[in-house]
């Protein structure tokens, strides 16, 4: 059903920095049961079980990121709704960023179903809050909308970096199939890391775009950015838990 195709989709997102990556990927990430050759059989690692703490952590990562991308998507939707008629020149930029947010959101939606993660119970509030935030700032001025984007993406960038730190440091599992039980990270977790890295880079591009579009000239800049940063941090804290 859906589940297998979604797994492949997230695999496609892993993009190591190398021209040869596509060639390597077919060997390394391809469907193991089909590709398994003479020597490949023995090389498929079997890791120890994820601990409860690790599973609880992954559960939170997927829930909070799904909620966050939902919010981002709705913020841009609110901005586009208010700005696109009066400032048509901003339309392509905003649409491009929103399209990326939709892709981010869909990716985490797929992971939420595949890994049986509970979505945030506060989902209705994230929708209403994000649309209000997008429309509200856009109604002040285009610069204020950009300041909102700047603040949101700053917090999200930091949030993704914090997750990447834990995911790369805390998911070294023993490979039971190797001779001296050497450690490694399961492909599943690696692919999540690659997804988050890619998204983090795109969020930081959004941040640059916002600054290029005069976010710093918004009035009142400090109030908007600091206020929104605070709201985002509270939202992240609650979406992880509730």
């Amino acid at each position: 059903m859906l589940r297998t195709s979604l797994y492949n989709q997230s695999q496609l997102l892993s993009r190591p920095f190398s021209v040869l990556a596509p060639l390597k990927a077919t060997v390394k990430n391809g469907n193991k049961s089909v590709k398994a050759g003479k020597h490949a059989e023995a090389k498929v690692p079997k890791y120890e079980q994820l601990s409860e703490a690790q599973r609880a952590y992954l559960d939170r990562v997927i829930r909070v990121d799904q909620a966050g991308e939902l919010g981002a998507n709705y913020i841009y939707a609110g901005q586009i709704f208010v700005l696109s008629r009066k400032y048509p020149h901003l339309r392509p930029t905003l649409n491009h960023m929103r399209d990326q947010e939709i892709h981010h959101h869909n990716t985490f939606n797929a992971l939420q179903i595949k890994n049986r993660v509970r979505p945030s119970l506060l989902t209705p509030f994230w929708k209403v809050g994000a649309i209000a935030m997008g429309m509200g700032t856009a109604m002040i001025s285009p610069e204020a909308a950009m300041a909102c984007t700047e603040a949101v993406e700053t917090v999200i960038g930091g949030h993704y970096n914090a997750q990447l730190r834990v995911l790369t440091n805390q998911f070294d599992l023993e490979d039971v199939s190797s001779p001296e039980n050497k450690k490694g990270t399961p492909q599943e977790v690696k692919s999540l890391i690659d997804t988050i890295k890619l998204f983090r880079d795109q969020e930081l591009e959004h941040l640059d775009t916002a600054i290029k579009h005069d976010s710093r000239r918004a009035v009142p800049y400090k109030v908007i950015t600091e206020g929104i940063k605070g709201i985002c941090k509270i939202a992240i804290w609650s979406a992880e838990r509730i």
Binding site: M1, R3, T4, Y7, V44, P45, K46, Y47, E48, Q49, L50, S51, E52, A53, Q54, R55, A56, Y57, L58, D59, R60, I62, Q66, L70, N109, Q112, I113, K114, N115, R116, V117, R118, P119, L121, T123, P124, V166, N169, Q170, L173, V176, P186, Q187, E188, E240, R241, I242
Partner: protein
């Protein structure tokens, strides 16, 4: 898997346990890991002595004598173990005045968990199984113990630790499994919750229907359950069932407390 080698994450985990009722675990979706030895929330493997005793008891004695220590003891004797196994079996449950004994609670837990695992063990990713099929299959699994369902219900729904730690989580887990392993559409928002509540509700009401059903082969229960699932899923009725469910739990708890006291 030494938990203590995992300090930073353990700490962050502890911080979230304040919302215990909402706690869930990520399900790995790849075959990169060794198979688990135990099936959570059981603390022993399916081929352990505990499992052998409990499944034998469930098959041979529970249908006639019910969920009690006698059924377990007979099974222990059949398999030739010492009667001290009784306390080993009950080890993971704390005694409670409302329930018969920790070992009996374990028997009840085993009954729920093993049947839940059994229900979906043959399904795969490209499943065409419908939610209704799974629900009916689960109800059929309880036909052999149908005369014991009333007593089982009383134990499951007695308000207290067991109800919150085992009965309700198992019920939600069952609903979650039925949705995940069937071709039922799943959701990313509140419908995720309401659908699970609706399925739990359909299951529990069908089970209550079953207690009173005297029809041949429980045909009336099966009809009732099919009808319930159809209405709930096709009309999107599950959006409204949250309130209904809350009422149901409350009324049911009150009735069962009353019946507990009248037995004493």
């Amino acid at each position: 898997m030494v938990m203590s080698s995992f300090t930073p994450l353990n700490k962050s985990l502890l911080r979230t346990t304040q919302f215990k009722c909402l706690r869930r675990l990520y399900h790995p979706a790849s075959n990169e890991y060794v198979n688990p030895t135990t099936i959570s929330p059981l603390t022993y493997s399916m081929d352990s002595i505990q499992s052998k005793i409990l499944s034998h008891s469930l098959k041979e004695y529970v249908p006639t004598s019910g969920f009690n220590e006698k059924s377990i003891l007979k099974s222990i004797n059949d398999l030739g173990y010492s009667s001290s196994m009784m306390s080993v079996i009950g080890a993971s449950n704390s005694p409670s005045f409302a329930h018969s004994s920790p070992a009996v609670l374990e028997l009840i837990k085993y009954n729920l968990v093993s049947k839940r695992i059994e229900l979906t063990k043959d399904t795969n990713d490209n499943t065409t199984t419908t939610l209704k099929e799974l629900l009916l299959k689960r109800l059929e699994m309880d036909i052999p113990i149908s005369s014991q369902l009333r007593g089982l219900f009383a134990q499951l729904a007695t308000p207290g630790k067991f109800m919150f730690d085992v009965s309700l989580p198992e019920l939600f887990q069952l609903a979650d499994d039925m949705i995940f392993f069937s071709n039922e559409k799943d959701h990313h928002d509140m419908a995720w919750y309401s659908k699970r509540l609706a399925v739990s509700m359909a299951y529990v009401t069908s089970k209550m229907f079953m207690i009173q059903d005297t029809s041949n082969n429980f045909q009336m229960t099966m009809d009732f359950a099919s009808d319930k699932v159809d209405r709930v899923m096709n009309l999107g009725e599950y959006y409204n069932n949250v309130e209904e469910y809350a009422w149901f739990t409350l009324m049911n708890s009150i009735n069962l407390v009353k019946s507990q006291f009248s037995r004493m």
